[in-house]
């Protein structure tokens, strides 16, 4: 019996070693909180642009079905929104990188190793596919579908990434995908779903991860 327990322990050790050596574990919860905060600030600016435009959200909804002959609200303000989105993405990326960098210094693990590389590749594949798809949506003026598309593709990217980093990230992935799908039936309200998915979800996720892994250290 004792012998059996010993073998079970051995198998447990092996499994743990395989996990630890193949996952990127320096991802900081603070990165999630920072990215979420950036997203909320970005959403606030974007909301001002949307509110400021004289077209109502109801008009935007009809744009998704328009045949492109009328002047689209997207053409009118799309450029500004894209700039806000790009700035938000860059800010979120930089801040999350800083916190994860600090964490990796603290835990004394290299930030750029084979684990990090694998993580990046697996995040980038769904993200790039998504970006191309969203670009095509913009070209076809289906602006209402962009927010749900962002959420769904981002969710898939996170889900894919969860195999190469802290496994709990998959719940964030599920959340984003679900939210994106629900958003498909609330087309005009994309900005609120966007703020919820990229802002609130990240902050909740980041706080939970920080609480679980970093609080004590």
């Amino acid at each position: 019996m004792n012998d059996q327990n010993h073998h079970l322990d051995t198998l447990h050790d092996i499994k743990q070693m395989m996990e630890r050596s193949s996952r990127f574990i320096s991802l900081s919860g603070l990165s999630g909180i920072a990215a979420g905060t950036c997203a909320l600030v970005g959403a606030w600016f974007a909301n001002n642009v949307i509110e400021g435009s004289r077209y109502s959200v109801a008009n935007m909804r009809s744009m998704a079905r328009s045949n492109g002959t009328d002047i689209s609200i997207g053409d009118w303000m799309g450029n500004e929104l894209v700039q806000i989105a790009a700035a938000t993405f860059v800010a979120a990326f930089v801040f999350s990188f800083i916190f994860t960098y600090l964490r990796s210094k603290k835990t004394n693990t290299p930030i750029w190793g084979s684990q990090a590389r694998r993580l990046m590749i697996n995040v980038m594949i769904p993200m790039i596919a998504g970006a191309i798809y969203l670009f095509a949506l913009m070209q076809n003026q289906a602006y209402g579908l962009i927010a749900p598309g962002c959420l769904i593709f981002y969710g898939l990217a996170v889900l894919n990434a969860s195999k190469y980093t802290l496994p709990e990230t998959r719940y964030l992935g599920y959340g984003e995908i679900l939210l994106g799908i629900i958003n498909l039936w609330f087309i005009g309200d994309g900005i609120y779903f966007w703020a919820l998915g990229f802002g609130v979800f990240h902050i909740i996720y980041g706080t939970a991860m920080w609480w679980k892994y970093e609080r004590s250290s």
């Binding site: 073998h7 198998l11 499994k15 070693m17 050596s21 190793g113 084979s114």
Partner: protein, 99 residues
């Protein structure tokens, strides 16, 4: 009835060696410092276990440079992977038969 213990590989009869092999099964190659980090052992201890595994032909050593610093990476050989898999199924077998 065959005695399952005979399938257990004596070479893997150490926590450090199991750690090295497990890490090399899921990564194509790992350097010395990463291994040390993962298994949390001293340089000397790790080096002696690496040497034992290398002499059994289960791992390969590639010495290289990153800038001026030496960077030695390790990878599992085909024989090493096979031996480790057999060791794992032997362990599994023993747990099952003990139930």
């Amino acid at each position: 009835m065959k005695n399952p213990i005979e399938n257990l590989n004596k070479t893997f009869d150490s926590r450090v060696r199991l750690g090295i092999m497990s890490a090399l099964m899921v990564n194509t190659e790992i350097n010395f410092n990463d291994l040390k980090e993962l298994i949390r052992v001293t340089d000397g201890n790790l080096a002696s276990h690496i040497k034992a595994l290398e002499e059994s032909g289960y791992i390969k050593v590639n010495k290289g440079f990153v800038g001026r610093k030496t960077n030695t990476v390790y990878s599992a050989t085909k024989a090493g992977e096979k031996a480790f898999r057999e060791h794992l199924s032997a362990l599994e077998q023993m747990i099952k038969s003990a139930k």
